[in-house]
Symmetry: C2
Subunit: 136 residues, 2 copies
DNA sequence: TTATTACCCTATCGATTTAATAGAGTAAGC
DNA sequence: GCTTACTCTATTAAATCGATAGGGTAATAA
């Protein structure tokens, strides 16, 4: 299941990508337009800023803005920041790999075999989509 | 993230599919072989039986067995029983559809657009795999 | 310089889900 | 009729999620 954090984050990013220029947009404006709890959105935008996807400007006329062009922001990056691992099990994750405790041999593990295929196909979708593709 | 319920369920089903005949296998044997808590596995096998994937036999020499040939059990069925919806958001789910509260228009929703692609690609993987394909 | 604006951070909370455990009940077979 | 092994209910601890509250801090305009 997609977390609300990811859902809201995607909506906020899409909203920013749909803006004309690169002028900062206030949190309150995004929250209102996308029906998101403002405080919750704050924490989401904060992580997006810390990972270099967003920039922010304080003071009057401040807000958040995209650092790069939407077409240069792949969904793989966004999803990993917001949702975490793309794989459904750690033992098939590229960026968050962990060995299964209960599994003696990955090569012969049926779950591993299936989830590897799922990861690859999901990854392809995210690689083929940039933030620009999400803008209506 | 894949739940342990699904993970254990898949392992148990694969173990059953790898058996020679159709003789019932005891829970304790499966649990031991796959490193699964026996009591937890009990509840998993029970749901698999209730949904018609497994059959069971009580008494001495009893246990669980596959009702159908492994190659006639698509992963879509198994995953929906164990994990629930395949889609990451209810609004793109085929079998568990629900409208988003916060989303005024699905057609113009960026999350919807992206998750639809993910669902389709994941679904294709599960449709192309039967239980027989998981057996090493 | 000062007031305002808006970002930034910490803490907390209830609700829900997950994984596991315990214990008693019931049906089938030898 | 007694054992075996499935069946069911209830409980639990831990983790996560979504949301809220409240205050702190930095930057900007006037």
């Amino acid at each position: 299941m997609l977390s609300k954090k990811t859902k809201y984050g995607l909506k906020a990013l899409t909203f920013l990508a749909a803006q004309k220029g690169r002028t900062p947009v206030q949190i309150s404006e995004i929250a209102k337009h996308e029906n998101i709890s403002q405080k919750f959105l704050e924490s989401i935008l904060l992580t997006l800023r810390k990972t270099g996807i967003l920039g922010s400007k304080k003071g009057k006329g401040g807000g958040y803005y995209l650092i790069k062009d939407p077409k240069d922001i792949p969904m793989t990056t966004v999803m990993r920041v917001l949702e975490g691992p793309i794989a459904m099990v750690p033992c098939v994750s590229l960026n968050f790999y962990e060995k299964c405790e209960d599994c003696p041999d990955e090569a012969s593990c049926s779950v591993h075999k299936l989830m590897l295929q799922v990861r690859d196909s999901t990854l392809e979708v995210f690689r083929n989509n940039t933030l620009a593709d999400l803008v209506p």
